[in-house]
Every structure is written in C-alpha cells, then in structure tokens.
C-alpha cells in the first residue's frame, strides 16, 4: 500500500455479514467458478460492500493467483479467467457504487499498445491485474500515437505509463513518447514500463524507459514498488533483473 494514502478498510474491520459474503466470494473466485461470480457479487452488495471493500476482497485473491503463476503452478488460462471474473464483479459493483469516493487507489496508470502494433491481449490482462491490485487504470487501446499517450498522462495525472510491445515496429513510438514527455516536463514524474514479446531488458536503456517486464505479474510487482515510492526517488532508472 502506498505510504501517502490511508489504507482501505481491512477485512477484519468489516461487519460479520460482509465478512461472510467476502469469504464466499473469495472461495468462488479462487475456484475459478466464473458462473457463480455474479451471484457472489450480488451477495457482497447486499451485505453493504462498496468499491473499496470490493478491492479489499479481490486483492488477496489476485495475489494468491499471482504467486501460483510465478511458481509455475498456474498458467495464462487462470490469469485470463481471474481477470474476467474481476471484470464481471467490478462492473456490478461500480454500477451500484456510483462514484469512487472512499476508495483509495495506490496509483494511477495509463496503458496502451503503441502506434505500430494492434495486439491487445497482454495489455488487457495487465490492465485487469493492475486494477485488481488497487490501481486506477486508463486503458487507452491499441496502435496509439505518442501525443495521445502524453495527453492521457496530462489528463489523468497518472504517474505510470505501461506500454505493450509485441512488434519491434513500436520502438519508434516508445522513443517519441519519451521525447514528448520530456518536452512537456512530465518525464521526471512519469515512470514507464514496457512489456511484451518484442521487449527485453537491454531496451530499458536503449529506449529510455524505466523497466521491462517479462510477464504481467512481474509487471504488477514493478508498478507496486513504484507506487510505494511515490514522491521519492522518481528519477531513479530501474532495469529489473
């Protein structure tokens, strides 16, 4: 949790009826019982769950799935289905909880596939995992021009930019985005992580970004560590080994 933000309510501080609904929701979630998620989410809402409580319920589930993914016990299908369950439940909760008031995000991130590439799978998985990990996510789309990315950073006040690169033809867009951020005076306040099949660690320095991730969960670890440092040491370059 970011040190600058007060934490959302912990599960232990919830009323018993909500605690019970959360436990049931988490059981269904960890069993990948996607058909049971709408009902489990309705039960959460009936028990008085708001958006912040919902994130409190989801974060440990996503962490457990992430740990199993990192350990090689789970693979992409589990990540994808977990992401979809989160999206289904999140839509229901947001429809009832009209605003985000009371919900503390640990960071804001703008995500896109840069100009030159239309792949969206990895980006979309990362978007859901980031949201389920407590980030406010602006998923801009695919084949996005650098100037649009910079506008999104300005508009949202995001401090993190995630770029998904499945083709080497995106490199020029990444470079141009970095240049535009520098020109606008936003580079020092924006950390950039790249990921995808066309990326490797050596590109951190060559493209002028801050980190590269080999998979979605490593990427979540990177942006969480950045969120935890918000406001300090923002200029430090990191090539995550």
């Amino acid at each position: 949790m970011a040190k600058n933000h007060p934490p959302n309510r912990k599960e232990a501080d919830m009323p018993d009826s909500l605690k019970s609904a959360v436990t049931d929701f988490q059981t269904k979630f960890l069993a990948f019982d996607i058909d049971a998620i709408p009902k489990a989410t309705r039960d959460l809402l009936s028990a008085g769950c708001g958006l912040s409580d919902f994130l409190t319920a989801c974060i440990p589930c996503m962490e457990e799935i992430g740990n199993k993914f990192e350990a090689g016990e789970y693979y992409l299908p589990q990540l994808v289905v977990a992401g979809e369950m989160f999206k289904i439940a999140s839509r229901q909760v947001k429809a009832v909880a009209a605003t985000d008031s009371g919900c503390k995000y640990i960071g804001k991130i703008v995500l896109a596939t840069p100009k030159g590439d239309i792949h969206d799978l990895g980006k979309d998985i990362f978007a859901v995992l980031a949201e389920a990990s407590g980030f406010s996510v602006q998923n801009v789309g695919v084949d996005i021009e650098p100037k649009i990315l910079v506008q999104e950073i300005e508009k949202t006040g995001a401090t993190i930019l995630g770029l998904s690169c499945l083709l080497t033809t995106t490199y020029a867009s990444v470079r141009e985005t970095v240049r535009l951020l520098e020109e606008k005076g936003l580079r020092n306040s924006t950390r950039i992580v790249i990921g995808g099949g066309a990326t490797e660690k050596s590109l951190v320095e060559k493209l002028g970004v801050d980190a590269q991730t080999r998979d979605a969960y490593e990427g979540i670890g990177i942006i969480k560590s950045w969120a935890a440092q918000t406001g300090s040491d923002i200029e430090t370059k990191e090539a995550v080994a």
């Binding site: 990948f32 992409l76 299908p77 289905v81 239309i118 083709l167 080497t168 020029a172 099949g197 490797e200």
Partner: protein, 404 residues
C-alpha cells in the same frame, strides 16, 4: 547454375545437403543459415509494403536485391501470399493487409476475432476424419475472411482449388530462380495446427474457459483433425516440390498453456501430424512461438532426427539444446529486438555463441527468432551472414564465444 551451386567458396556441401544433414542431426560442413526476412525486405529496398505484397514481379525484384546486397544465405523463407483466400485458410485468422485494410506502407497484421462456438468442437468430434480439417477450415472461413463471406462449402472448395493452383504455379516459378542461386527452399506447405487454431478461433478468454470446463473436447477435436491436416499438407508440399511442412504452433507454448495441458491435449494431435509427415518422407518444421522449455521433455517421443524445432527467442535455446538437441534439429533464434536495436558486434557475438553451443556437433540452423523484423538494421542482418562465414565451419576451431 543450379541447386548444386555452393553458397560460399569454402562450402563443401550444397545448401540442401546442409539443411538435410542438420535435420538428421549430423554435422554438415558448416551451420546452415535461414534469413526469414519477408517483412524486412521491402523496407530495405524502399518499396511500399502494398506493392511488394500485391505484385509478384515487385516481390521477386525486392528479394533478388536483398539476396545480392545482404546475402547470400542457405534457406529461402517463402511465405509470400499470392492469394488472400489461401493465406486466411492456412493462418485461420483475420488478416489486415497494406493497401486493403491498412495504409500502403503498414505491415500486415492479424486481428483476433471470435468465430468458433463451443458446439463446433462437437461437430469436429462427430464429423468425418477424412478431410475433417479441410472441411472445418472451409466451414470457418466464411465467418472471418472477407473473400469467403457468403460462400457455400462446395463453391468455396472450388475457389480454393483455383487459388491453390495459381499459388503453386507462381511458387514453382519463384523457386526456380532460388534453386539456380543454390538456395534450399524452406516451406512446402504451412498451416496453423488444429489445437492452436481452436485457441485463435475461440479467443484467449473463451479458450481459457474451455480448457477449464471441457478440456477433453479440445483434445479430442484437435486429434480428430490431425490426420486430415497432415494429408492436406503433404499433398500441397508434393505439388510445390518441397518436402517440408511448417506447422504453426502459436498457442501451445507455456506462455499460453501448462505442460500438462500440452501433453494431454495438444501433443496427441501434434504426434499424429508429425508421424504422418515423416512417414511421407517429409520434414515437419514446428514453428514454436513463446516459451516451450517445459513442453520439450514430452516432445522427446517424436521421431529422432526427423523434426525441426523453430524457436523465436522466448524459449531458452541453450537449455533446449540440452533437453532435446539429441532428438530435434534446433532452428533460431537471434531476437528481433537485437536485430532492430543492437549493433553488428552484438549480433555477431550472439550468433557465435549460438553456433558454438547450440550448433555443437550439428543439428542446428541459424536464423532470426520468428522473423527478421521490418525495422532491423541491414548491418545487423549482414552480421548473421558474416557469423556463419567466420564461425560456422565445423572443421575449424575459432576462439570461444563471449559468454552472455
């Protein structure tokens, strides 16, 4: 000049002999080189991607220029699509082309759309084995391919035969020039494997849920189509006069599925395909994108000295050599990022390491990981050519490579 022509003066084998020896896991005179530079070539030559893809004459002149100025090399990577219909049939994805759906200078792209329903697994399982894969593809084509929209199976099959005949005629004419230069031809037929086609056709989310809900149907359906896939591929490869089948396995890696799912659901069909192609006297080239390392132990049951394993840079190729190098010829894997952003020295050092470690004792073909990207530096591509000339001859000792 003919295919007996040597590529470089010091060669003692032809390119075809070198390729065949590598497949048999023997030690050729030197490491063979395949430059898979389809998308790099027009950028290098300064020709629009649309003109290059739409006009066979432009394509031929561009490739000739690259051969003369960047090459020569051993193995010609022939993926130029003469017919959009045939291209969709083999890839089984909606494709966006420069000059059609995209601007003239853009690179062709694939768009993932969902065109297969859960009931289609049952139709495949309950359908005929004979021509099963062909009928499945024809049935699906109208759902995602503009050229096939609204067509019945019979009329589509007729159009396919006409387009295929045109494609084969064009290719055989093209191959003549390459063989005169001494090059071996890489691909007799190419197509996405059934398991991987299902993953693309259902989309990743639906397919992930299918893997959890009805995994046995995926396994049964992909195995059901395997024999027909092999029959079609071998027939086309015979028509092309090139005894290889490039089998695309874009969705079977551990980047998508677990080793257990691979072994239980994808490998049985893959094994049928490989054995049938081998029984026909041909070589399957398994185009394995993603990380395959944990799948390799179960793939050891495929026939030894008959199969090429093509890696794209995401599998640890050095570990792959240890795990399966005594069973399969390994093909790869200079990363696209290195060719686009590296220096000729870096490329040369990486090729040197590949040649010394993965090429040790033979059974190795040097190539780019997946493909040479369109924005590769020409001097980096030339560094691959220089590396096989400098380090690739098996009879010579050179200084050990720089450790990565």
């Amino acid at each position: 000049m003919n295919s007996a022509k040597r590529i470089y003066p010091k060669d003692s084998m032809t390119a075809q002999q070198r390729f065949d020896a590598a497949v048999r896991l023997e030690t050729p005179d030197r490491v063979p080189l395949s430059l898979m530079l389809y998308y790099f070539a027009p950028v290098y030559a300064g020709v629009s991607m649309h003109q290059y893809m739409a006009d066979p004459g432009t394509y031929a002149s561009v490739m000739k220029k690259v051969w003369e100025e960047v090459g020569p090399w051993d193995i010609y990577y022939n993926i130029h699509p003469v017919s959009r219909l045939i291209y969709s049939y083999v890839l089984m994805m909606r494709t966006l082309w420069p000059g059609y759906e995209l601007a003239e200078d853009e690179m062709a792209k694939v768009e993932e759309i969902t065109y297969m329903n859960p009931e289609d697994y049952d139709s495949v399982i309950d359908g005929p084995e004979l021509l099963g894969d062909t009928l499945f593809r024809l049935r699906m084509l109208g759902r995602f391919c503009k050229e096939a929209e609204g067509a019945g199976i019979a009329s589509l099959a007729t159009r396919m035969i006409i387009h295929l005949a045109r494609q084969v005629r064009n290719w055989r004419k093209d191959f003549k020039w390459w063989r005169e230069q001494g090059a071996a031809i890489q691909i007799g037929c190419q197509a996405e494997m059934p398991f991987d086609t299902f993953s693309q056709a259902r989309n990743v989310l639906n397919f992930s849920m299918d893997l959890m809900r009805t995994p046995e149907k995926i396994g049964q359906a992909s195995t059901r189509l395997a024999a027909s896939y092999a029959t079609f591929s071998v027939t086309v490869a015979r028509l092309m006069g090139v005894p290889t089948v490039q089998c695309y396995c874009h969705r079977s890696s551990n980047s998508f599925i677990s080793p257990k799912q691979f072994e239980e659901l994808a490998l049985p069909g893959l094994e049928v395909v490989v054995n049938r192609i081998v029984d026909a006297g041909m070589t399957p080239i398994l185009h394995c994108d993603g990380d395959w390392l944990k799948n390799l132990p179960s793939m050891r049951r495929l026939p030894a000295g008959k199969v090429v394993l093509q890696l794209d840079g995401l599998t640890d190729i050095f570990r792959a050599k240890e795990v399966i190098g005594d069973r399969m010829c390994i093909f790869g894997d200079v990363p696209a990022a290195l060719l686009a952003e590296g220096t000729p020295t870096e490329v040369g050092e990486y090729c040197h390491r590949l040649i010394e470690e993965v090429g040790k004792g033979g059974g190795f073909i040097l190539a780019a990981g997946c493909e040479v990207p369109p924005n590769a530096k020409a001097e980096c591509v030339r560094a691959m050519v220089d590396a096989v000339k400098k380090y690739g001859y098996y009879g010579e000792r050179v200084s050990p490579p720089v450790a990565a």
